[in-house]
């Protein structure tokens, strides 16, 4: 099977922290990225998304070396815990940015935005401002934007952490469905091991700036001492 992501011998020093990453992610996988706070999960995402340039090593995404590829040209979409939408732009515009960063949309583009919104259950929200939506609805809009961008890889940095447990479950189901239907490769940072087991088929465990383990979700180690 083709690898969606190959990170080999990547090293990076930020202040006093030293990071080193080696990992592979098969295309179409749903990977739960876990590990203690401050271990380097977000740094790993920053390297993949192009926000940090590694001091050494290689990052291949879809078989292509990312060294000289700027963040906007990388085949990845991002969803954070919150502030995924520009608060001063309406929902349509926020999602439309995924079709065209200069907002030049033809009828096909507009239709794509509307259908993505309805796919995540936000039909009719086009003219609403992000501030008038609930936290869950805002994350749905962020997923809609990831849908219209059609980038093969989704990097989700604790996307449900700000939501209450029931909503979290629903959003997890939505994400699982999107993953099945669209065939994205998904990397999701999560502290919730149950969630990881429920949604993901693989895991990456990051500890002290390194990948401590990776593999099938069934092999996700049980943390010592809870």
């Amino acid at each position: 099977m083709m690898q969606a992501i190959e990170v080999s011998g990547v090293g990076l020093t930020l202040g006093d922290h030293r990071f080193g990453f080696d990992l592979v992610v098969p295309a179409g996988a749903f990977v739960a990225v876990t590990g203690p706070s401050g271990a380097g999960k977000s740094t790993l995402f920053n390297i993949l998304a192009g926000f940090e340039a590694p001091d050494e090593g290689r990052v291949l995404i879809g078989g292509q070396d990312m060294a000289s590829v700027p963040p906007g040209k990388r085949p990845v979409s991002l969803v954070f815990q919150d502030n995924n939408l520009f608060a001063h732009l309406d929902i349509f515009t926020n999602v439309a940015l995924g079709v065209s960063p200069s907002l030049r949309l033809d009828t096909v583009g507009r239709a794509a935005v509307s259908s993505a919104l309805s796919r995540v259950g936000l039909s009719g929200f086009e003219k609403r401002m992000p501030g008038t939506l609930s936290g869950g609805e805002r994350q749905r809009a962020a997923f809609a934007r990831a849908l219209v961008r059609k980038r093969p890889i989704m990097l989700l940095d604790e996307p449900f952490a700000a939501l209450d447990p029931e909503l979290r479950h629903q959003m997890g189901d939505l994400l699982g469905a999107l993953h099945r239907d669209e065939g994205f490769t998904v990397l999701m940072i999560t502290h919730d091991r149950d969630e990881a087991r429920r949604l993901a088929d693989r895991f990456i465990l990051v500890e002290a700036g390194h990948v401590a383990a990776q593999g099938a979700i069934a092999d996700l180690p049980v943390p010592q001492g809870g």
Partner: protein, 527 residues
């Protein structure tokens, strides 16, 4: 917070402070109304009004445009070395007395100034003439470009850090980023920033007086002063005062419709990172913008320092008039500081103790009444009362006016501090039976000493550097440091003026720093 019984003392104090302010302002207005305004909108007054509005509009436009350009560059460089100091520097002109700034502007842009030396070095024969509209604009932009830049930078820095990541990930180009992210932030801050700057420029007195240089470049404030001081036409002055109050009233109404521009930044744990400034063109542009900004706003400071250090200090220190001016200024400043401290304390405490909306609104209005009736209006009224004499009274008046000028600012610092302090301690003090002076001494004074001292120092700095309230009363018998500088500048004794300016600027800046909330939080976010 829910007001409670047993707080009558606090409300009484506030009522007293309010009565004092209203009485002081009302008494100033009585002679104005009694004199009645003579003349109407004759051609000259229309000219003055037009010039006032034109210079204020142009000053605002230039300040806002260049302030935004600087802010975009500074905000794009969150990791810039010395960024905290750059932001502090943007606050520096505000601490500089207007008269010192006028001196600095003249030293750089005046006839014998640095700029003309540079021109002649490059063989340009024509001399740059700073007096008139040009000088007013240069001085106003010197003060207000940094102000606008600071407020706009804060507006841009307040975005969540994820915005810049998303913008980079979505591939927003330079134009899209400005149109969709930076632009809206600037536009949201614009009315508040522009209104504030327009207000400052429309009521600016000292800069127009010193740099206007003639009847062609006179604003309402200066025209009032001239009508009283030189032409002695009280009726005309009263009419100009009415026009002035209507103008400031309109600007205040406009400002009230928009939120006060906030200076603080969002408390994001992680520092901001920007991903859009990597190209060489962008680095060169931002570097050039920040450098030009530093030169434009730094040059007057350097000029004040260099000219001041070259001046004849021993000669100045031997002059008894200097010592008289210094002691008068010190006495005025201390009185104004103390009065500002007391008034803002009484107002702030009463403000949180009252359940009456009318009273609360009255306290708010009283605290910022000086914005509606600027110093020149109040001093005009009192000047007419006293008919130019009055013995000791002018000293008291100037101190009171200076204190009132500081109130809107000191209340902005003190009010939130008082609110949170009382929320924390009220129940405990009550349960311990601590009331009145005992509570003030044991509980309130220690906890609130910092904001109280800030109010004191702010008013002190403002009073030391002020020429507006003194201008009408100043003369042989009533000499303050700014008045002395103004007189020395007028008689072309510039080396004395240079030394005095350096002393005044240094003292005022020092007190202004003590009177400004620390920006430690900005420092952390800026690293």
């Amino acid at each position: 917070m829910r007001p409670q019984r047993g707080m009558t003392g606090e409300r009484m104090g506030g009522a007293l402070a309010l009565a004092f302010i209203l009485g002081f302002v009302a008494l100033a207005l009585v002679p104005l109304l009694r004199f009645g305004s003579a003349g109407g909108l004759d051609a000259q007054i229309v000219g003055v009004l037009k010039f006032t509005l034109l210079q204020a509009s142009l000053s605002t436009l230039l300040s806002v445009v260049f302030g935004a350009v600087v802010a975009l560059s500074v905000a794009r460089r969150p990791q810039l070395v010395g960024r905290v100091w750059l932001l502090r520097f943007m606050a520096a002109p505000m601490g500089l007395p207007a008269l010192a700034a006028a001196f600095g502007v003249l030293a750089v842009w005046g006839r014998e100034g640095v700029f003309n030396s540079v021109l002649s070095f490059f063989g340009v024969a024509t001399k740059f003439n700073v007096y008139g509209m040009t000088g007013i604009l240069v001085a106003h932009t010197f003060f207000n470009i940094p102000l606008a830049a600071r407020l706009f930078t804060a507006a841009l820095d307040r975005f969540p850090p994820t915005y810049w990541k998303l913008a980079a990930n979505l591939g927003l180009g330079r134009v899209s980023l400005f149109r969709l992210v930076e632009g809206p932030a600037l536009m949201a801050a614009l009315p508040g920033v522009a209104g504030l700057i327009f207000m400052l420029c429309a009521t600016s007195f000292t800069l127009v007086l010193t740099l206007g240089g003639g009847p062609a470049a006179t604003t309402l404030e200066v025209a009032i002063y001239q009508a009283l001081k030189f032409d002695f036409e009280p009726g005309r002055a009263v009419f100009l005062v009415l026009v002035q109050v209507v103008l400031t009233g309109l600007v205040l109404l406009f400002l009230a419709a928009f939120p006060t521009p906030a200076e603080e930044r969002a408390q994001q744990g992680a520092g901001i990172r920007r991903f859009d400034g990597g190209s060489l063109v962008s680095k060169v542009w931002d570097g050039a913008v920040i450098l030009v900004f530093l030169i434009f706003c730094g040059a007057p400071f350097v000029a004040i320092l260099v000219d001041g250090l070259r001046a004849d200090f021993p000669h100045l220190l031997a002059d008894p008039l200097f010592w008289r001016a210094l002691s008068t200024s010190a006495a005025l400043g201390l009185s104004a500081g103390l009065l500002a401290l007391i008034l803002s304390w009484l107002i702030a405490v009463a403000r949180i103790s009252t359940a009456s909306r009318v009273f609360a609104g009255g306290l708010d209005a009283g605290g910022s009444l000086i914005l509606l009736t600027p110093p020149i209006v109040l001093s005009t009224g009192w000047f007419l009362w006293l008919k130019g004499g009055g013995g000791f009274a002018p000293y008291v008046l100037v101190a009171v006016i200076n204190a009132l000028m500081a109130l809107p600012f000191s209340l902005r610092v003190l009010q939130p501090a008082v609110l949170s302090h009382f929320e924390r301690t009220r129940r405990l003090s009550q349960s311990l039976g601590l009331t009145g002076f005992q509570r003030l001494r044991i509980i309130d004074a220690p906890a609130l000493s910092r904001p109280l001292l800030m109010a004191f120092f702010f008013a002190l700095a403002l009073s030391l550097g002020d020429l507006g309230a003194v201008a009408l009363f100043g003369g042989e018998g009533f000499v303050t440091l700014p008045w002395l500088i103004y007189a020395r500048l007028g008689s072309y004794r510039t080396t004395d003026a240079a030394a005095l300016t350096l002393i005044l600027a240094a003292v005022c800046m020092a007190f202004a720093v003590l009177g400004t909330p620390s920006d430690r939080r900005q420092g952390e976010a800026g690293r």
